[in-house]
Symmetry: C3
Subunit: 276 residues, 3 copies
């Protein structure tokens, strides 16, 4: 690696990070949905911060609106920076088209270069056995299966606190039960949906992450934390190597915090690791 | 059209859209003002979402601060994606420089490649007859005249609810009367300013769009809806083919909603069209 | 200068601006922290609005996470547009590594092409004499020393109003005393930190800028104003040639206001200069 490929200000000790592919401290960033994302912007993000990004997750099925050429440019570019591509939870929409559409979806995902298919059920209800079948199906086509679980029905699309409160949440034990069963079925990673926990709620349910970590550990779990106050809270409680899903726009702020070089007043100078 | 120019995941049925130039379901996006916009970002937006964008509207006269070369790059790029360019409401500033400035303005707009001149009066008051003269003047130089009407004086620059409430709104019947007269004078399209209706207000005036649609229909009318909750509301009430003006950053989220593939909990799976 | 290098719509009189390097009406924009910033986006900003940008300030030490090659591209690009590069207040972190790190930091800043080293103490406390030594040290390596002073301890990282209110603010006279001493020690410019004045507070402390201007004048002072309502307030009170630090995303909106061509209702048509 030439000098120019190394980070600037090498003499400053910062919290050490594993080289990619990492097993701890993974950061997944959200792709186009709340903002557009084209190949120039993605190149900007990856050239400046790519070393700290493990995966790029599409949202809302935005890729299904793009020309194949434009989509493949994004996917290929991410791959040159060793960034995995996840579908996000579009399977929920595909399921409404029936089982043949699921097959076609998974095949086209593989063909386009997706690495991870997310299996969520924020907007729909689905028997747990069928969810397990989807995990196996994703593996059958040679892709990774990331499961998203949560306590809030109707999650996944920026709904208001009132709208979601009216629906009510499920007990966290259900979500944890689902996660355990899906891990047993082979799920590669578990995403914890933030709605009902730290998003679209009046008061954070801090008991929920505590139970998740107690029951599932940190290794296979990634928390959705697409607000600076939320990712600050996860790092304060679970350390700088907790796996987090954030918005693409937040990658600099998050990595300043993980690395221990900057933060809000409560965390400035306080984010430490020990790697002797 | 080659495969690569087609959208990905063709096997999924989504709400059909007319090819451009469209007559229904038009989307106009806001250009540089609340954020910068250069040719690389615009290329990103157009390469990934250009099929769903009908027009690009400048705001606040930002083009008058740019070098001609940079401005023409934006305009030419938009044209290669069949996106029309609107001036936004800068005529209000130009009018304060007198009638010769209006002539010079319209001529330079045409020379630079603008397609549409917006004629608004959010910050100024102007006799209706003079407004009609402006419509004809715009047509005389060979451009389209888009009129923006509204109920809020002082609209057009992100003022606070309190500041605008202190001024008070006009009765919607005045705005509708103006729109009818300006359509009779040849106005090509009517933009409904959101301030006083869904923006900078404490409670939305949902009666106003209802009266607009009742009196003017949907075809020539475009609603300003530069907040996701607002464009969601318009689509819920008027269907996915209502003409909307949004911020450039919102194009993916809006098109996911129009196409029926994603949305908030209340609209997820509910946005339908029937084109046998 | 060819026609294409001139701004469009030359026939419109706008508030005259000095050519760069300016001594009045300076605008410094924030670089990557709350968002990423790569060379393509920066090129977009500079090609369209570069004439109105005097300096680019990094934040949170984000440069220390970038590859040297990517960082130098940003710096070199800014220089081609006559935009100075400031470190932002990363010295606070460097100081925790001891005096040798400070030397290494300043040398690498010079080597990479930084023009200005900001010397702040929002998160740390530091004897005033040591602060003066830093000003001299920065000059010794041939760079400009910009001092940031403020009334809020714990400032510099988007903390909440409650968190900062619990800490309390210092009397403005202390900040002004510091600024005077540091100017006497050779500081080239004074940045007034907005936290505790117009940011992360429930009510703005409008008395503080008044005392700053009364005691220090406007020439060497720059106000942090990274919210449109804040920079609107400074322009209303101190005119369009007050020096302001804003977010990169706000440059169009600010310059529309400085130039007198657009604004909110209270300022539309009201921002004037007189240069006979």
């Amino acid at each position: 690696m030439s000098d120019e490929d190394e980070r600037a200000f090498q003499f400053l000790r910062i919290n050490q990070r594993q080289a990619k592919p990492r097993t701890r401290g993974l950061t997944e960033i959200r792709g186009p949905y709340y903002t557009p994302m084209g190949r120039r912007y993605l190149a900007d993000v990856l050239e400046t911060m790519g070393a700290y990004i493990d995966a790029l997750k599409f949202a809302g099925g935005a890729f299904a609106l793009m020309r194949r050429a434009a989509l493949k440019e994004l996917i290929d570019l991410a791959h040159t920076h060793t960034v995995a591509i996840s579908t996000g939870g579009f399977i929920e929409h595909v399921l409404t088209h029936g089982p043949a559409a699921v097959d076609a979806y998974l095949n086209e995902c593989r063909e386009l270069g997706f690495d991870v298919v997310e299996l969520s059920r924020g907007f729909i209800t689905l028997p747990l056995e069928d969810w397990e079948s989807l995990v196996r199906k994703v593996h059958d086509v040679g892709l990774k299966a990331k499961v998203e679980v949560g306590i809030q029905f109707g999650a996944g699309g920026a709904s208001t606190p009132d709208a979601l409160a009216a629906i009510g949440t499920a007990d966290p034990s259900l979500m944890i039960h689902q996660a355990k069963r899906l891990i047993a079925a082979g799920a590669d990673q578990i995403m914890i949906e933030s709605e009902g926990i730290t998003e679209s709620v009046r008061t954070w349910r801090s008991d929920v992450p505590a139970r998740v970590v107690d029951q599932l550990g940190l290794e296979k779990v990634m928390f959705e934390a697409a607000e600076p106050a939320v990712f600050g809270w996860y790092i304060r409680n679970y350390g700088p190597e907790v796996n987090l899903f954030i918005d693409h726009s937040q990658i600099v702020q998050l990595e300043c915090l993980r690395s221990g070089i900057w933060g809000t007043n409560e965390l400035w100078g306080r984010v430490q690791t020990y790697k002797p």
